[in-house]
Symmetry: C2
Subunit: 334 residues, 2 copies
């Protein structure tokens, strides 16, 4: 059981005061005009004995933890996983650390997680908001805690957010289907009023309207079992004799693929929102509406860091363009 070395131990050993050591350790040696020789002596000693400050005590004193709470829908979804990874590395360079948790889009769990992170005094939040947490977020903002939302936003809460242009993404996909000559084009989405879902729906509608086509829309319950969803999708495609389907999320599309496999029917042309390994490997490879993950992560961090430094002048609403990555699944075979 190695005993942890304290700042007072260092002060004692070197015959100086804790203040001096503290100043030196916090890069205030210059500012406080502490002699270079002493500075060096302290730093050398610190390195030699491997002193590590107690971050808890530091945080308690300064009120800053240098930790950012990342609250996302589902860490095992590669879309979120990748953004989390990017955020983690970028923020690391700035001396911040990330703690993250998945909400599974459950608003109770989200509220609880926000509360828990707040208890742990995180310096700021990055959140994919689930529905019904407007008040929780407002409280955060009132307490002056920096918050950046992403992937979706809360129309009734005035806060910064970074999202993809979901409307345009869905619109482009729908137009692409139409241009390929598909006749009966459906959309699979969720029973959810979240903005990203609403915008994707709107984009699809607009695209269909433009070609004066009838829309076919299937919404899945957020809490439906996968087995149910698989059967529902089969029915949706077959009953409506669809020749093309746009899926509003990557996991819906995966469910669609499973449905094809289970019920052994010929899948229509497909486009999915958000890329996934499965889509690249699938035979045929699946066309996707891909969000600019790296840019999203960059913007989230930039905004948050500004807020953490108190330098944010105004509230930022960023909408970044999506890219339609055309692969085999949406090309009409003659």
């Amino acid at each position: 059981m190695k005993k942890r070395i304290l700042i007072s131990d260092i002060a004692k050993a070197l015959g100086v005061s804790v203040t001096t050591v503290s100043f030196i350790l916090n890069d205030k040696a210059k500012e406080k005009r502490i002699s270079e020789s002493l500075t060096k002596r302290v730093l050398d000693y610190v390195k030699k004995v491997g002193y590590k400050p107690n971050e808890l005590a530091k945080s308690l004193r300064t009120g800053k933890t240098k930790i950012i709470g990342l609250i996302i829908e589902d860490i095992s979804n590669p879309f979120f996983g990748n953004i989390a990874r990017l955020i983690e590395t970028k923020v690391y360079e700035q001396g911040y650390r990330i703690i993250y948790c998945s909400t599974n889009n459950d608003s109770e769990k989200t509220k609880e997680l926000i509360g828990m992170f707040n208890d742990r005094q995180v310096d700021g939040f990055i959140i994919t908001p689930s529905e019904g947490i407007e008040e929780t977020i407002s409280n955060l903002l009132q307490s002056n805690v920096p918050v950046v939302l992403f992937d979706r936003y809360l129309p009734d809460v005035e806060t910064d957010y970074v999202i993809a242009d979901n409307f345009q993404g869905a619109f482009d996909a729908t137009v692409h289907f139409n241009e390929q000559g598909y006749k009966r084009i459906g959309l699979v989405s969720l029973y959810s009023d979240q903005t990203q879902m609403r915008d994707r729906l709107d984009g699809y509608m607009k695209g269909m309207d433009q070609f004066k086509k009838q829309v076919y829309i299937k919404k899945i319950q957020l809490d439906a079992s996968e087995a149910e969803a698989i059967d529902d999708l089969h029915e949706f495609v077959v009953d409506n004799r669809l020749d093309a389907v746009l899926f509003a999320t990557n996991y819906l599309a995966i469910t669609g693929l499973k449905s094809g496999k289970k019920h052994n029917y010929k899948l229509p042309a497909l486009i999915a929102f958000d890329d996934h390994t499965v889509f690249k490997l699938h035979e045929p490879a699946i066309t996707v509406v891909s969000q600019p993950i790296e840019e999203i992560a960059d913007h989230i961090i930039n905004i948050l860091l500004l807020k953490l430094q108190g330098k944010a002048k105004s509230i930022k609403h960023l909408t970044l363009p999506c890219e339609l990555k055309i692969r085999e699944s949406s090309i009409l075979k003659q």
Copy 2:
């Protein structure tokens, strides 16, 4: 800017001392024989004003953070992601929280993360050790910090671990290939001395020896680019005219599938270690050696909780059986 309410505010408002409030809040009312009426009065008031203790101060005082550090190879790999999720929920019920980070099997990063978590005073660690961190782990153990390793272990460090029976898993897969009548069965693994890789290799060897078959082994560099690996695998399969391949990890198998797609050659029969959505959806569906994820998570937590409570009597080495989930990719077509 809502002001945070403190324990002293409560004491003042109710005309009692902070000690009393603290006792009540920490479920010591009975023990300290505080009157039921007062207890109730305090609890009601606490609820009314929504008091939340400052966890930092608490931790500083008690030396316990109720946080467990989970350090795993790659959070975006569903095998690890799922275990993380299970551990998170199970530990949550016990009042512990998890903070996690990915090492990407980089030993420097692992060491740094362990150090960082230690600075933040996590109460215990759950780690998939990368190579070369024996000393770091030993230091942890010397400082009496509870540590449980999983997925692999460090032969030179005497600590608890929970792993799958990798030898048996690989052996069963190899036997299955042989029984199906495959002639030229290869193994794709990594240049890594980690125990799980070594055991899978041994299991394959043993299985091949039993049938007196020649082994074909391809090892990929840990840091090889995916593009290189794709080409290497193509070469390996084609040059050796393999009709069956066992992949030592799920991502190696995915690379194998990509290789088939890129080079457009007929894939041999396949078995992968650790399941993945891709494998279920693939045409043909891919046979896997599946680890008992839930049991692994359970055992990790049980051991860790015992250690956290100081009740661990002895060091536990647990090896749980793998299951061969036979799907289409390993069935010999006549």
